[in-house]
């Protein structure tokens, strides 16, 4: 899952640093993720994992780190939320 998250961040996050070097707890917004880019990351994650983030998860904190994204995706895929 982490590889796929990192791929999405690489392709859609427009981060000024190497995604591979980011620790899973590193703050992505501090690393340069903008609000605009975080929205593109969200859409790409939905497509990649065939999920839809529900309203309460539409927060910047959901996407603040690789670990946070994994946690959100795990919750969604475990709950079997349809896309």
């Amino acid at each position: 899952m982490d590889d796929e998250i990192r791929r999405v961040l690489r392709e859609h996050g427009k981060l000024p640093c190497q995604v591979e070097t980011l620790d899973e707890d590193a703050d992505l917004f501090e690393a340069g993720l903008t609000s605009h880019a975080s929205v593109n990351v969200m859409l790409a994650l939905e497509e990649a994992f065939d999920v839809e983030f529900p309203e309460p998860m539409l927060r910047k904190s959901t996407f603040e780190s690789i670990g946070a994204i994994r946690h959100a995706l795990t919750t969604l895929t475990a709950a079997g939320v349809p896309s």
Partner: protein, 310 residues
């Protein structure tokens, strides 16, 4: 410019203000909510405000450029406006059919049927913001110190409303800087301060607030949270119809690399350029002045008149 501020739940005060403007012949109704013609007196206020902002821009050494109120579709795509405000944009559609399609078009018009579906998108969309055409001008390497533009013109945003301060077609006047992260923030901050002072000098009670734009849909939830948190965009607000819900009449917005990246703009040292703009909602300022000082500019306070018509 923000678009939600000043939007009333019942619009009562806005409707009363509009009725006064229409009765006085200042706004000329068109049958479409939020679309007006303007009297000569109104136009003189608009031109005076343009000249006032123009004097400031000249003082800064800005290059004045002029563009039509339509923007190339390719430029528009690169502005990423559709991500944030798909519901506000307007697209230009044209007829590209043959004689047979023309006959069909006329039949549909005559019978009151839908003829628009025979049209196709043109190469242009309506301008959503005045500053959009300047970014393609900057593609490539910027000179030391970046670039500074003055640009004004008609913009379109589809948000029909009884509030005269929320017009679908309106005049925006911007001073845009493209440069480094530091110079972009500096332009925003200095422009906000100067803009607030200029409008305050016209007798408007100004305050500055963090912008709260009406980002669209579920993606908008994240965008709105980011905008407030990052405080990249500030607005100058003044009460027009409501003290509790003042209207944004100017904004100062740091875009970071939002335009620098898609338009491939580099600073003199080769890094991605940042940009910022100071935008004046000229119609809203004109309306705020009419509300504050009365519908007859000849009777406005001498100090205000002297600043507008020096």
């Amino acid at each position: 410019m923000s678009t939600r501020l000043g939007h009333a739940p019942d619009d009562a005060a806005e409707a009363v203000f509009r009725a006064g403007l229409v009765d006085a012949g200042v706004l000329l109704e068109t049958g479409v909510e939020g679309l007006y013609g303007h009297s000569a007196a109104y136009q003189q206020i608009v031109e005076a405000l343009d000249a006032m902002v123009g004097r400031w821009a000249a003082e800064l050494g800005a290059t004045a450029v002029h563009f039509p109120p339509v923007v190339s579709r390719a430029t528009f795509d690169d502005t990423n406006y559709l991500q944030s405000f798909p519901d506000l944009m307007g697209s230009v559609h044209v007829f590209r059919g043959d004689d047979r399609a023309h006959s069909e078009l006329l039949r549909r018009v005559a019978s009151g049927a839908d003829w628009q579906s025979l049209l196709e998108p043109a190469e242009v969309v309506l301008a959503s913001a005045s500053c959009h055409p300047v970014y393609p001008l900057c593609t490539g390497r910027l000179p030391e110190g970046g670039r500074l533009f003055e640009i004004h013109g008609w913009c379109f945003r589809h948000e029909p409303s009884v509030d005269p301060a929320r017009q679908q077609a309106f005049h925006m006047h911007e001073v845009v800087h493209v440069g480094t992260p530091e110079s972009a923030e500096r332009h925003r901050d200095q422009g906000l301060e100067r803009g607030l002072a200029m409008l305050g000098d016209l007798g408007l009670e100004m305050a500055s607030v963090a912008a709260n734009d009406p980002f669209f849909g579920r993606l908008g939830t994240i965008m709105a949270e980011g905008q407030i948190e990052e405080a990249l965009k500030l607005e100058g607000v003044t009460p027009i119809c409501s003290v509790e819900r003042p209207t944004a009449v100017m904004s100062a917005n740091c875009h970071r690399d939002h335009f620098g990246l898609p338009f491939s703009i580099e600073t003199a040292d080769g890094s991605v350029a940042h940009s910022s703009c100071v935008a004046f909602g000229v119609d809203r300022i004109a309306l705020a002045l009419l509300h504050a000082h009365g519908l007859t500019p000849a009777r406005w306070p001498a100090g205000v008149r002297a600043r507008l018509w020096p």
